[in-house]
């Protein structure tokens, strides 16, 4: 028989009689935490923290990858929701400060006038890129009213750049953003790994004795003596005559 003591300050201790007459079991008499309250909180925080970081990594990579697509809005909102749930204390207050007109706030675009945009699906934006023209630009614009064959290549290019900011080739050029994304992912996975390492040292309770090699050996011997799964499973693989695994 074995006795079971539960105390709030010490780990659950099983005083087993190692005579192998009864299988090792635990009595779930009542749902009592096996750890101290402070350790409890640490365990809860530390088990919640790495998945939170991991999820944040995935969502931030998702949102940055999908920045140019419509899904950006949903991914950004989900990320925002999760980060808010994760900790209100960690949210930045810069958005709140911006509305009070503090120093260092970026100017907001005037949405009541037509805006310029470089988009592949909108070849002709609502207004020209350069709308304040110098005298040279004005004279070139006048020349544009005449036959275009009389314009030189440079003049045509100038006219293009006056009307548009980026060419289609410039809009489509690769950004190298993928390097930031992968870098961020690996960095946060590494950080999570460090957090888990710290946890294993400072948070986890001591390993149960059942993990030791000697205990495992005794356990295996006991299972073989009991003829656990003798037909097709565990003991079936043991050669009882020769005293070795088949």
């Amino acid at each position: 028989m074995f006795t079971c003591t539960v105390s709030p300050t010490r780990s659950l201790s099983l005083s087993l009689s190692l005579s192998f007459h009864s299988p090792p079991t635990r009595v779930f008499s009542r749902s009592v935490s096996v750890n101290s309250p402070s350790r409890d909180i640490r365990i809860k925080l530390c088990t919640f923290f790495p998945p939170c970081i991991f999820l944040f990594v995935i969502l931030s990579s998702l949102s940055s990858c999908l920045r140019k697509t419509m899904l950006h809005v949903t991914a950004g909102r989900i990320a925002g929701l999760l980060s808010r749930r994760g900790g209100a204390a960690f949210s930045s207050s810069s958005s709140r400060m911006a509305s009070h007109g503090h120093v260092g706030v970026t100017e907001q675009a005037d949405m009541s006038v037509p805006l310029y945009c470089d988009r592949l699906d909108t070849p002709l934006p609502d207004r020209p890129y350069k709308d304040t023209l110098s005298a040279a630009d004005e004279s070139l614009k006048q020349k544009e009213k005449g036959p275009w064959n009389s314009l030189s290549k440079e003049e045509k290019l100038t006219l293009y750049r006056m009307m548009f900011n980026e060419t289609y080739a410039e809009m489509k050029k690769p950004t190298g953003e993928w390097k930031t994304v992968w870098g961020g992912i690996f960095f946060f996975i590494g950080l999570t790994g460090l957090v888990v390492l710290w946890q294993t040292h400072y948070v986890y309770p001591p390993q149960p004795p059942t993990f030791e090699d000697e205990w495992q050996a005794m356990q295996v011997k006991r299972m073989l003596d009991m003829r656990v799964n003798p037909v097709e499973g565990f003991s079936a693989k043991w050669d009882y005559e020769k005293g070795q695994w088949k």
Partner: protein, 138 residues
């Protein structure tokens, strides 16, 4: 097709109803008239051919046309380029050619064909292609 089969099955289980034993040929398509390709093309050629087309209408027409899942026919583009000429807007004409190349996507043979078809117009109006100006690459 699935719904009619299910209905027919239910009909056989319950009472037979004449409404459910309709022949297979009757399908549930919309009765709207489908515009042919020629009708679509001529509609857009007419749009850009308006003599007093203004800049907004040009931009709206071009942006809408590029929004469709197709590459516009050379005759539509010819009409649009002439509209750019009427509005004294060379930059938009070059932009339209860039947009056509982008719309062709992976089908690299479409853009050279379009330029080939538009070559007389480009020469007449004096429009340079993006390749001639060197803006086809970064």
């Amino acid at each position: 097709m699935i719904s009619s089969a299910v209905l027919r099955g239910i009909g056989s289980l319950a009472r037979t109803r004449t409404a459910f034993t309709a022949p297979l040929a009757v399908r549930c398509y919309s009765h709207a008239k489908v515009e042919t390709d020629e009708e679509f093309d001529s509609r857009w050629v007419t749009y850009f051919s308006k003599p007093d087309l203004d800049t907004w209408e040009l931009r709206k027409g071009m942006n809408t046309l590029i929004g469709y899942d197709l590459v516009p026919e050379p005759k539509i583009l010819d009409s649009a380029l002439r509209a750019c000429r009427r509005l004294n807007d060379l930059a938009s004409a070059i932009r339209i050619l860039e947009a056509v190349k982008d719309k062709s996507g992976p089908h690299k043979e479409i853009y050279p064909y379009v330029i080939q078809e538009l070559r007389p117009t480009l020469q007449e109006l004096g429009i340079s292609t993006p390749e001639e100006l060197g803006i086809h690459k970064v």
